[in-house]
């Protein structure tokens, strides 16, 4: 048997962003032993980058808000492909999760009467996002981290999981390597929670860091679990476009929430030119009303700049394609204009958007209190992921749970800003609770030595003597990213996606031949090589699903099928491995919504 160090935990959690940390806290509160594995150092996960806030119907700023309105907003944003049961849990449980963070030391911005302040965000009817300036994610991850480290959780930092093991019908453990020394670790566990986040590194322009290679999705898929909604990749409308080295870095929607507006090169507020039918009633039709909304006028409707992300991203692409973009291939996002409206604008921008001020000043030489920013869409978030039971977050593999971005269901065809942080809390907690319950009722399953050996052998292949046509991992990764960006991006077409499918096949062959220099000691080349299979699995699932959905809905836009097809609104696409190990995509009907929820949706039309 290969040399591996064995660890045993009742519940193993993979990923230490908001969902993983929250799951670990929940599981350890249930008095089971918990191991938490993460690819980076603790506290560095992508949650830290979340800016705008946590959506929760606390109704502190507008008492008309309620879980029902939040539920209806989430369903509308997701174009009704969401798992409505998850959307219900989410809307109902988010407020308690936010209050819990406060009880653990989080310090949110305050209302006049000292309660948690909430801000406006795209697709949310009322000011709903609990926030800390524009660094809410940092506040959240630090609060969970500082609370979590005192709960008896075993943290294994800088370890990457490369395989899951099942025993007969349920999860039994995971194989990982540690980045520092390159040693292998076997984690035996009664239950496993995947909380590995997104897939942004499948694309060239992304807000995600090196970590987000879709590991959890690929691991679950390989273990026999079902994936769902893989065609829905969120391209955040506002990423930085210039200079090239910062391309893709996120510019928070909070800029628009605070009164920032999108302009084309002619200075036109182009978002007024195309307001979708299903949002027309609740969207301002003039600039004045939009401004009043951002300044807290409860009778004003929100400006079209704050329409859902899928729509805003497409409008920006349209402006750029039709020659009305900014010099570096974006459009303008202007918050500086509010100087004309309020006397202390500079102060206010710096106070409400300090990270944005800092980011542009330091990285782009732009003073956002005086000049507009240049922005364009960036790959940001995966709505799809591992299909889970809405209540327990268990996947179709018993004992394998998933929460947060790597799970599917809550967001449907498009996620509303702010619904991610609340997702992490609500479903991280649920996954931790139910994983602990599952673990308590079981013993550790056996692990077959030959499968562990095979996993180790596969991981060490990049160190084998160079095969003919061998190449380095970075070139393959870059090519995949460029290909996905060009062929399966914001605007999709069957012919291009067929080419993408072909390209993925070839890249798989090349990935199998990748060789790396050096040894196992902290070797990013090797790590990149081991990330490639996950990226390829995820890219294939996205492409196949996007081909299968022959309509345009939410984040998925087909140039060859530009309108919404009511029939296609009745199913989700499921991706799974067939008996022969090939990828299959199938349509799964969406269950009829419960009448009481349907009524809530209708009332909030």
């Amino acid at each position: 048997m290969a040399e591996v160090q064995t660890h045993e935990h009742d519940v193993l959690i993979i990923g230490a962003g908001g969902a993983g940390l929250r799951a670990a806290i929940a599981a350890s509160a249930a008095k089971v032993s918990v191991g938490l594995v993460c690819k980076s150092l603790l506290g560095k996960a992508h949650t830290v980058m979340a800016e705008g806030g946590i959506a929760a119907a606390l109704a502190n700023v507008d008492e008309r808000d309620s879980w029902g309105v939040h539920f209806a907003d989430t369903m509308r944003g997701g174009q009704y492909l969401n798992d409505w049961r998850m959307a219900e849990f989410h809307a109902k449980e988010a407020p308690a999760c936010v209050r819990e963070l406060e009880a653990w030391g989080a310090l949110f911005d305050r209302t006049q009467d000292g309660r948690i302040l909430q801000r406006n965000f795209g697709g949310h009817r009322y000011p709903r996002l609990a926030h800390v300036g524009d660094r809410t994610g940092l506040e959240m991850i630090r609060t969970l981290q500082d609370y979590g480290i005192h709960q008896g959780i075993d943290v294994h930092m800088e370890r990457t999981v490369i395989a899951l093991f099942t025993d007969a019908d349920r999860i039994a453990g995971a194989l990982a390597y540690d980045r520092e020394r390159g040693f292998f670790h076997l984690f035996r566990a009664k239950a496993v929670v995947l909380a590995t986040g997104g897939i942004g590194r499948a694309y060239r322009i992304t807000s995600n860091s090196w970590e987000y290679t879709g590991d959890g999705l690929a691991l679950a898929y390989e273990a026999g679990a079902e994936l769902m909604d893989m065609e829905f990749v969120q391209f955040h409308p506002t990423g930085m476009v210039w200079p090239p080295s910062v391309q893709g870095i996120l510019v928070t929607e909070g800029v628009r929430g605070e009164g920032g507006v999108l302009l084309n090169k002619n200075g036109r507020r182009f978002m007024f030119d195309d307001i979708p039918e299903n949002y027309r009633a609740q969207t301002a039709d003039n600039e004045e009303e939009g401004w009043r909304y951002t300044q807290g006028d409860r009778n004003a409707r929100r400006p079209p700049d704050l329409l859902t992300r899928d729509h805003v991203a497409r409008c920006i692409v349209r402006e750029i394609k039709e020659g009305r973009g900014s010099p570096h291939g974006g459009v303008y996002l202007d918050i500086a204009w509010i100087r004309k409206r309020i006397p202390d604008a500079e102060e206010r921008i710096k106070k409400k958007l300090p990270s944005m001020y800092h980011q542009f000043k330091q990285l782009a030489d732009i003073d956002i209190t005086r000049e507009p920013m240049e922005v364009g869409p960036t790959t940001h978030y995966m709505m799809g992921g591992i299909r889970v039971d809405p209540e327990t977050q268990m996947s179709t593999v018993p004992g394998l749970f998933a929460a947060g971005e790597c799970a599917a269901g809550l967001h449907g065809a498009n996620r509303l800003g702010g619904n991610s942080l609340s997702d992490l809390l609500v479903f991280g907690k649920r996954a931790g609770d139910f994983a602990a319950r599952f673990a308590r009722e079981r013993t550790l399953g056996p692990l077959a030595a030959d499968r562990i050996d095979a996993g180790v052998r596969r991981a060490l292949e990049p160190f084998q003597p160079a095969a003919p046509e061998a190449e380095g991992p970075y070139a393959v990764q870059e090519e995949l990213q460029a290909m996905m960006q060009d062929l399966v991006g914001i605007v999709r077409h069957e012919e291009e996606m067929r080419r993408a499918q072909e390209a993925i096949g070839k890249l798989k062959e090349r990935a199998a031949r990748v060789r790396v220099a050096g040894n196992r000691h902290f070797n990013p080349g090797w790590h990149t090589a081991l990330d490639l299979p996950s990226l390829l699995t995820v890219s294939e699932a996205i492409t196949r699903s996007a081909l299968e959905r022959q309509e345009s809905r939410g984040a998925h836009f087909r140039e060859d099928h530009p309108s919404k097809d009511p029939e296609a609104g009745r199913f989700n696409l499921i991706v799974r491995q067939d008996g022969a190990g090939s990828m299959r995509v199938e349509r799964r009907p969406i269950p009829e919504m419960r009448p009481d929820l349907k009524k809530i949706v209708e009332e909030n039309g």
Partner: protein
């Protein structure tokens, strides 16, 4: 395209040396871009930590031309490129490989700090009320991204290696955030002098100067903590009263 030379430290705990790499320089580039470009094209196994690339996660700390910096926020345009740009790991921590060093000590120190303990809720629904002004004072400290550059530059750790007796600026910031938290009811003053070594800090303010989040570490966190600690332990009036209580003995009653 103009180029530049990067003199990057390569090696591990056993030792190493600087190696020169040339790469082209494009508009807006930061040191991290150059390092990653070199990694992708010339040195596949070059160890470096990074995540957000926007100064938000605090992973890519290193010493650039001898100064502790976040590589992702150090623009090449602010460096003299006619000479090689040196990039080396933080010196206050053990080396692992190339630019990655062992910052595990920081995580151990953090565990020793008494956690947040809130006062009972203010409202019947279990929530609290806080004024924005009170929150803001602490929010400054909570901006910390744990890049550990302040720990790296602090001579108590860097030169005197007092890692066992001194928790460093980062954790004084954390203690200050807890002590000044409007809801916190814990008392952490005793440890400050005894096991956390606040007395070692002689206010040279190096930490404040390197903080990428512009936290006024010395003035707003460390000095107020020192004052609180001194008030508690060295205030002559308190000492006198304590002496009186002691003299009064058990018989004097409450």
């Amino acid at each position: 395209m103009p180029g530049a030379t990067f003199r990057i430290w390569r090696g591990d705990a056993a030792g190493g040396a600087f190696a020169d790499y040339s790469t082209e320089v494009t508009e807006g580039m930061v040191v991290l871009d150059a390092v990653l470009r070199i990694q992708a094209a010339q040195a596949g196994d070059l160890a470096v930590r990074w995540n957000c690339k926007a100064g938000r996660c605090g992973s890519c700390s290193a010493e650039v031309n001898g100064r502790p910096r976040l590589m992702c926020m150090t623009r090449l345009s602010e460096l003299p490129l006619e000479q090689p740009v040196t990039v080396e790991p933080m010196r206050a921590f053990p080396r692992i490989k190339d630019l990655a060093c062992d910052v595990g000590w920081n995580y151990e120190v953090k565990k020793r700090i008494r956690p947040f303990k809130p006062r009972p809720p203010d409202a019947p629904d279990g929530t609290w009320r806080m004024a924005q002004a009170d929150v803001e004072r602490v929010q400054e400290f909570r901006k910390c991204i744990e890049c550990f550059l302040c720990q790296d530059v602090c001579h108590v750790l860097r030169e005197h290696a007092k890692h066992q007796e001194f928790i460093g600026p980062r954790y004084f910031v954390q203690v200050a955030a807890l002590e000044m938290h409007p809801l916190d009811a814990e008392d952490r003053l005793a440890e400050l002098g005894q096991t956390q070594g606040i007395g070692f800090c002689n206010i040279t303010k190096c930490c404040t100067r390197v903080c990428p989040e512009n936290i006024t570490i010395t003035d707003n966190a460390i000095i107020p903590l020192k004052e609180r600690w001194i008030d508690r332990h060295y205030d002559p009036i308190r000492r006198f009263l304590g002496w009186l209580r002691l003299k009064g003995g058990a018989g004097s009653g409450p």
